[in-house]
Amino acid sequence: MDSVLLIYKGIYILVIFGISLLIATYSTYFERKIAAFIQDRVGPNRAGPMGLLQPLADAGKLFFKEEFIPAKANKMLFILGPGIAMLVAAMSSAVIPFGDTLILGETSFDLIAIDVNIGILYIFGVVSLGVYGLMIGGWASNNKFSLLGAIRAASQNISYELAMGLSLIAVLMLSGSLSLKVIAEQQTGFNWNIWYQPLGFLIFLICAFAETNRTPFDLPESEAELIGGYHTEYSSMKLGMYLFAEYINIFVVSAVMSTLYFGAYNFPFMENLRNAFDDPVLGNNVVTIIGVAVMFAKIFAFIFFFMWVRWTLPRFRYDQLMKLGWNILIPLAILNILLTGGGILLYEYFTNG
């Protein structure tokens, strides 16, 4: 790897990290604003113009709030919990292609941090670790509500990971690759996977809600039952990190969903646009930049959807959630795999004779 690329990667990773932090920060603001708007209120509007400094106020407050470690808590694990949650959440955005290649001078830059050929597995692996943050934190608090939250989080995440993985397999069968970049590239123009995988997408979407602990699957922290669930005993920035991690997870999952099903940075008529420019480099760059914007638009749309759903639906009960996961989603996902396999076979039969 030559040094230009190395430096580029370093900067890129920092930028992506910064963006995910920024988006997570402002997600809290948008969550509050969207909730307010849905509920006929105006939401925060006193901290800065339209309340735009609200996240900063929250962060400033949280930073300077007293650190509190309960007397009977396991100190080390208590501190480790939010750290794991945050670290894991921040790691997962590394393999997401936020855009196509950008050509500057002689070199072309891929707008992806690491293009590993098992990108989707990487995300899975990292996301599956996220639950440790909640479990360890909840357990270490030595509070029964926290413990219940932790246990709920663990069983929920494991159960829904299965259905999520199964629903993904259909996409992988279509794309024939585990690399997110390859999957993104295959969906040029309007050729998005959602047209072939509506059922798979639905399953993935539901599982995404469950994996990020959002309503209607916010059992681990359900306020009415468990007060704050696993983060009941956390104050100060440790709480902030949990909240942050949740929003980063939403961001990542939205990005993954746009990449897998909604064509990532691809948008309709992009080829026409590319060809409209005489200079291929310029055309490529314009399309790439629009693509990045499109990608983020899709991500924001998903984030909005997450919040919209949260402020509409009641939540499940623990056993119903399990039933939904194991009895409905997993069989459906397997069915989806079979259908997709059959479809591919049929397609090949008719095209290749």
Binding site: P44, G48, F64, K65
Partner: protein, 184 residues
């Protein structure tokens, strides 16, 4: 959307020395401001005033404008303890316990006649004001107060938060205050 941009007193920028690209202010002020605009309440709602607090959270009054719409039922995460409603003697120790569990900085608002002074319930079972159990920062009169008055109380706490030293907790006066309530 147009009705959102009406005249609203936003949190004022702290006074500082502004020059070309230069804005310095006391760090404490900034944090005070941050705290003031992100006061998460712990609604300790036992009776009628709690119902009015619901109205305060509702669309018409919307406590979220002050950044306080996230009720933290876990005392660790809350900044202000809003005691709303009658506190009986049986409940007194619980209030104290909740207060002890709160992380600094913490403020207490006694909302309504019962919490502030017992109100009409001058009876053998009712605590005549929660300031017998925990130190109270702001009193809100009314039985129950209108949501406007609850918001008033919140803004009073904001004023307190803005002008408070970061090290209030360590000050001897504060320690003495806590000691007088027998809070460790």
């Amino acid at each position: 959307m147009s009705d959102l941009n009406k005249d609203i007193n936003m949190a004022e920028a702290p006074e500082g020395h502004s020059g070309a690209g230069f804005f310095a202010t006391s760090f404490e002020k900034v944090i005070g401001l941050a705290r003031a605009n992100s006061l998460w309440p712990l609604p300790f709602a036992t009776s009628c005033c709690g119902i009015e607090f619901m109205a305060t959270m509702g669309a018409t009054y919307d406590i979220s404008r002050f950044g306080s719409e996230r009720p933290s039922f876990s005392p660790r995460q809350a900044d202000i303890l809003l005691v709303m409603g009658t506190i009986a003697k049986k409940m007194g120790p619980v209030v104290k316990q909740v207060y002890e569990q709160m992380a600094e900085p913490r403020w207490v608002v006694a909302v309504g006649a019962c919490a502030t002074s017992g109100g009409i319930f001058d009876s053998y079972s009712v605590l005549q004001g929660i300031d017998r159990v925990v130190p109270v920062d702001v009193y809100v009169p009314g039985c129950p107060p209108r949501p406007e008055q609850i918001l008033d109380g919140l803004m009073r706490v904001q004023d307190l938060a803005k002008n408070e030293s970061l090290r209030r907790r360590n000050s001897p006066e504060y320690q003495a205050l806590l000691a007088s309530y027998n809070i460790k």
